[in-house]
């Protein structure tokens, strides 16, 4: 039996992770869920967004969300007509600052920490390349959760190219820092001790010869230096990555997949659902977003649209006789009636497509929540609250 409200999940879990392909309204859904939980269920709720764009900040009316958590002022909630039972906090991931924190925490001494922080490879990895978001997002979630300041953390996942990348990130990180490959890569340094000895070691092994040819020796040296400094932090990093992974699989956590009923996002959502289940992550809910209203599929509407088209001229005459100035031109009335009928049928085609897509959903979790298509974009707390009510099926 599937439920249509997120409420049981919100009441029983400590972490709810929203995932889905780009453009389906993941960030907005996460924010609306957090808001609904804080307002309707109470407690201290944190919405953690990872998206580099400052979308949530706009939606929550905050000028800037940094790596620190900020409370959404009660006054702002009251202004939106909300009477919160709990407290709502927001935080946005600052990748660079989070990495730096991590290094400072695990480094054995300040010198090593600053050596790493100052390494050009480290700066490049953390600042420029997108994969580093994946891991640090989950790491930050772990950090926030273990501090225990929140009853519920709602997470908006990074828009990874491959939507499940972030799930693998902790394991990949553990492998990266603890793996034999890395030790192997830095071996000439560790064996040679002095820089001069390196050349001999490199030259004698086909692997290093090739690596030298591909990457250039300077780059290889940078890599090695970077990882040598990192060596003292391996254990801390690996342990941490494993703990992050355990938390994601824990029953206190649940995953929700957000999708619209369009072909491509839906296929992505199904892929997601499959992967979550296969990897034994708790897949708790699916949110169908921006769904067209049911009346578009009802037969009465279709019958009326057909009649309006066929009998437009006769109906227009009757309308013109009603005495309303805006309806006095029967030609115009007929045209408007036909246009309305055609518009209904156009949207009905899309609604039918959505219904078919929904019926084909193969893997359905405990909860399937539906958010209707709203005419206007959501950009304020009142709009988020409206979505929240749809997610929790509350009046």
């Amino acid at each position: 039996m599937t439920a249509d409200s997120l409420e049981p999940l919100l009441a029983s879990r400590e972490i709810l992770v929203f995932c889905g392909s780009g453009g389906v309204g993941k960030t907005t859904t996460a924010a609306a869920t957090g808001l609904a939980a804080a307002v309707q269920l109470g407690g201290r709720v944190l919405v953690l967004t990872i998206d580099p764009a400052r979308r949530l900040a706009d939606a929550l009316g905050l000028e800037a969300i940094g790596n620190v958590e900020r409370r959404v002022p009660d006054a702002a909630l009251h202004a939106a007509g909300l009477e919160p039972r709990g407290e709502l906090f927001t935080a946005m991931l600052d990748t660079k600052a989070s990495w730096d924190d991590l290094v400072l925490r695990h480094a054995p001494d300040e010198e090593t920490a600053y050596k790493v922080l100052g390494n050009s490879l480290y700066q490049n990895i953390t600042a420029r390349f997108v994969q580093s978001h994946d891991y640090i997002a989950m790491e930050r979630l772990y950090d926030l959760h273990t501090h225990g300041r929140y009853d519920l953390i709602v997470v908006d996942t990074p828009p990874t190219r491959n939507a499940i990348d972030f799930l693998d990130a902790p394991a990949r990180m553990a492998e990266f820092f603890g793996g034999r490959l890395l030790r192997w890569l830095t071996m000439p340094y560790r064996l040679g001790g002095r820089r001069g000895a390196r050349v001999v070691n490199f030259a004698s092994r086909p692997f290093y010869q090739l690596a030298d040819r591909v990457l250039g020796s300077q780059f290889l040296q940078d890599i090695a230096e970077f990882f040598l400094s990192f060596q003292s932090m391996y254990d801390g990093f690996v342990e941490r990555a494993q703990a992050v992974e355990r938390l994601l699989r824990d029953r206190r956590t649940s995953f929700a997949v957000v999708t619209t009923l369009e072909g491509a996002p839906l296929r992505e959502a199904e892929f997601f659902a499959r992967e979550l289940t296969a990897r034994d992550y708790p897949f708790g809910a699916m949110v169908l977003n921006r769904v067209l209203p049911d009346y578009l599929s009802a037969s009465e509407g279709h019958a009326a649209a057909a009649a309006l088209t066929e009998r437009a001229d006769a109906l227009a005459k009757a309308l013109a006789a009603l005495g309303d100035a805006a309806l006095e031109d029967p030609d115009r009335d007929a045209r408007v009636l036909r246009t309305a009928a055609r518009t209904f049928l156009d949207y009905a085609v899309v609604a039918t497509r959505e219904r078919e897509q929904r019926a084909e959903l193969s893997r359905v979790p405990e909860v399937v929540a539906t958010v209707p298509a709203f005419a206007d974009d959501v950009h304020d707390l009142a709009g988020l609250a409206q979505i929240g009510r749809a997610l929790l099926r509350s009046p």
Binding site: G22, G23, A53, R55, S120, L121, N124, R128, F129, V130, Q131, P159, R161, N162, R172, E175, L181, W184, L185, P206, F207, L210, R213, V214, L215, G216, F219, T260, A264, P293, Y295, L296, A298, S299, E300, G301, A303, A304, A305, A307, L308, L315, A318, D324, A326, L327, R332, D333, R335, V336, T339, A340, T343, F344, Y347, A348, V349, A375, D376, D377
Partner: protein, 324 residues
Amino acid sequence: MTPAAPGAGFLDRRLVFFTGKGGVGKSTVTAATALLAAERGQRVLLVEVDAKGNLTSLFEHPPVGFDPVEVYPGVSAMQMRTEAALNEYLRLNLHVPVLGRIGPLASVLDFVATAAPGVKEILTVGKVCWEVRESLQGRADWDLVVVDAAATGHVIAQLDSPRAIQELVSVGPVRQQTEWMVDLLSDPAITALQFVTAPEEMPVNETIELVARARAELHVPLGSVVVNRVLPEPFTRGDEPTFEALLDRPPRQRLERDVGTGVGSVLEATRLAVSLRRSRAAHLTALREAVDLPLLYLPYLFVRDHGLRVTRMVAEHLAGELGL
């Protein structure tokens, strides 16, 4: 004859990247561009970068791999695979025959390709650039290489990767390998970065941001912005008050008596359509004001299916916008 729209020039380039926020129809526009170019006699290579594997479904063709497969007359498609690109690079540039034979090296390179940051990006862009260079030098047949590139944000890292690598690697073959890529990517006669967006708040905001970033951080020439899924305006300004009047009680009851209660649904749906269109028009205005690139408009298609028929419809609308 309709004059060719400004920004139409991207079909005359050799390498066109399409980027845009997820969900705006980037893949559909990319596929339609490939189809349009092929219909006009060009030999097109269509490259799917996001490993979703459903770009070829827009041609009703099963998924393809790293080796290009013709999915439509004149359109060959390939899916980017980092390991395959690395293998090819090593084979061609360093004359390393088959990776499997080098034992542990294979796993090291696999590790480098999947885990080391930046490597994926450079291999992706490198492979694409290589196909273009081969064509320019007469060793490959592509008149046009069309790339369904990474979504907003990632595309900057991707297209910037040759320069990023240059900052890291000051000498050696990789350095040389990235120099020609930077040249090719910054040549306005060869390359264009196209943006795909939809007239909705977030896609428009992200496009404005992305265009500004691309201008500031990349040397890649910018093409135009394709605004996809533009909803039709149901009523002219003159007809709209008449529609509003229909929503009042007396005319509505009158219609319900004559054609049944379904009239309410018809009017409700039309009202939704009018307000959706209206809220989107505001986003279009914001886009026009903030972005100084040519804009091309493609209508929302009220169709039931996906596939080749829809791709062709989009291509036709695109041709119309380009004045072809």
